[in-house]
């Protein structure tokens, strides 16, 4: 059964009606599809790549084993789809993860189902805090430079470190990086000085060969040597490193984002969705997930299950965390929406 068919069967407006009729019909007409769609299948929005591998092995498969609920993944991760699902009542996925910037907008727009906190302090804007990931500075070791880049100021230093660059096409992550490059200390970043950030971005713009938009694209750019220096998600950096590419990176001034599990508002698979979010943020599965995916666990109870060998690659480990800074969407310094629009116009000129 495809997601669409399933969705048509269980549009929220008709859900209660269907539940009733399904129960009645099951005894007489045998309509296993409806019954099964309600209880034993869950659709989860996937980031693909290393994320999906870690999630399948540590969250999806064990969850299915424990509950009998089958998990299907839907990609790519799409904020617009989440919004459209609630508008149309046609659901393609029940559960997704959102970053700190998007979750505020999503919750304000009423796209997220209310959930119970799976552990103490887990809830933020109706999302259950799952794991931390970072945007870090990485480079090619075969670029032929004297010395290695240490921070974002070096990313901007095209005299000492000549070569092409890449950053994500995402204003909320790029602006703080520009301010760090301009000498603003990490603990004084927020609220952001938007004007100063754009002025600093003007300097690096001619050297940015690509503004990447997808995780796999960023890995490819670094691995194949299309750029010499890149601001990249740390999981994607390790993917290039493990593939044998001559690359290195620093945790210094890495930018931490938090990812939250959320349940799509009014989804027909509500119970299973909530059950999954609780499972995915519980200590053991989360520990396995972050260990394999190199993320930082946000449920502190997970830490006792994480082997020490995994710590060097985790943004929240005791040795790395002090070098990093966190995104602060609550005190960001402007309307992220307007700034993103401005960023887009800035890009096109």
């Amino acid at each position: 059964m495809t997601a669409k068919q399933r969705s048509m069967l269980v549009r929220p407006s008709r859900r209660r009606f269907l539940q009733g009729t399904a129960a009645a019909a099951a005894t007489t007409l045998a309509t296993p599809h409806i019954a099964r769609a309600q209880n034993t299948e869950l659709y989860i929005n996937s980031w693909g790549g290393p994320w999906l591998e870690a999630a399948t092995a540590n969250l999806f498969d064990p969850f299915t084993e424990e509950t009998g609920i089958k998990i299907n993944t839907v990609s790519p991760v799409s904020f617009a789809k989440l919004a459209q699902q609630v508008r149309t009542g046609v659901y393609e996925f029940d559960v997704t993860t959102l970053g700190g910037g998007d979750i505020v907008r999503a919750n304000e727009a009423g796209l997220l189902e209310d959930i119970e906190p799976p552990y103490e302090g887990a809830l933020f804007q109706n999302g259950a805090a799952s794991h931390a990931f970072a945007t870090k500075l990485a480079w090619r070791t075969d670029a032929g430079w004297d010395g290695t880049p240490q921070n974002w100021a070096d990313f901007w230093d095209v005299e000492r470190f000549p070569g092409s660059r890449s950053l994500q096409r995402y204003a909320a992550r790029v602006l703080p990086i520009a301010l760090l490059a301009d000498g603003v200390p990490m603990d004084e970043l927020y609220p952001l000085d938007i004007e100063r950030a754009f002025a600093k971005l003007d300097e690096i713009k001619p050297h940015i060969r690509v503004w990447w938009t997808g995780g796999s694209q960023s890995t490819q750019l670094l691995r194949d040597g299309e750029v010499d220096m890149i601001g990249i998600w740390h999981g994607r950096y390790y993917e290039a490193l493990d593939a044998g590419a001559p690359v290195a990176a620093t945790w210094n001034q890495a930018e931490i984002d938090r990812a939250y599990w959320v349940v799509a508002k009014d989804t027909p698979n509500m119970e299973a969705a909530k059950q999954f979010v609780e499972f995915a943020t519980s200590p053991k599965p989360l520990a396995g997930f972050v260990t394999q995916g190199n993320y930082g666990a946000l449920n502190p109870a997970a830490n006792e299950f994480i082997p020490d060998s995994a710590l060097p690659r985790m943004p929240t480990s005791p040795q790395n965390y002090p070098l990093t800074f966190e995104q602060d969407m609550a005190n960001w310094g402007g309307d992220p929406h307007e700034v993103s629009m401005r960023f887009d116009e800035w890009l096109a000129t």
């Binding site: 904020f79 503004w211 694209q217 194949d224 299309e226 993103s340 096109a348 000129t349």
Partner: protein
Amino acid sequence: MAVTVSNLAGRKNLWPWLLLAPLALYLALFFLVPLGQVAMMSVTEPRVGLDNYEKVLTGTLYRRVFINTFFTAALVTVCCLLVGYPLAYLMNHTTERRAMAILLLITMSFWTSFLVRTYAWMVLLGNNGPVIWLLATIGFADPPGILFTRFSSTLAMVHILAPYMIMNIYSVMKKIDPALIRSAESMGAYGTSLFRHVYLPLTAPGIANGSVLVFVICLGFYVTPVLLGSPTEQMAAGLIGHQIEQFLAFGLGSAMAIVLLIVTLIVLWIYSRRFGLDRLYG
């Protein structure tokens, strides 16, 4: 049986419509209805009015992207013509075997997935790819980056769209009566004069068909320019996707889509006035 046949004959005028009905129904349901919804969204989201159209038609970003989209489509069309016309000519003037071989090569690239071809160009034009290697070998001390420029995206789009052009021109060339050429020659037309006054006008419908198809398809290109092109040159389709994905600006995205559609229809209308739309199909 006889009764049925005579019945059918009696309803001769109805029969084609009956055959067409499933397709018409399909198009109405899955094309016209969603299109109507898009049109609705463009004037109702986030509030009722023409705000979205005002933004699209006056905003510098949108204007720049639309101009770039049409410029790119025109550039790709001209390149396809420059590549396609000589190739179609060659196919028409070589042995049947060779013509078939060329046709096979063209259709093979045509059958390969769009995305695969785009990624293949990334490998070919990348810093560690054969093209840069060749440039370095023949003496370029520091070969310029080719990937992520207008050149690379145009090259890939020409590769993807050239088959439309070649097929159209080739099919028209094949139908030219050789007697016409011979009689032109007997009247004293040779070389460029023969080409300009006889051959080119005879193949003009093929050029027009191919150009319109390539131009219109290229207007809606999305993946190729995003993955291969430079960050400053954006296509309208990419911006529409970005508006919706990044900003949930369904209304603004819809308005852009409608503007793109209207301009495309205008191009088709001009073509139809000049050449007749039915020529597109054969």
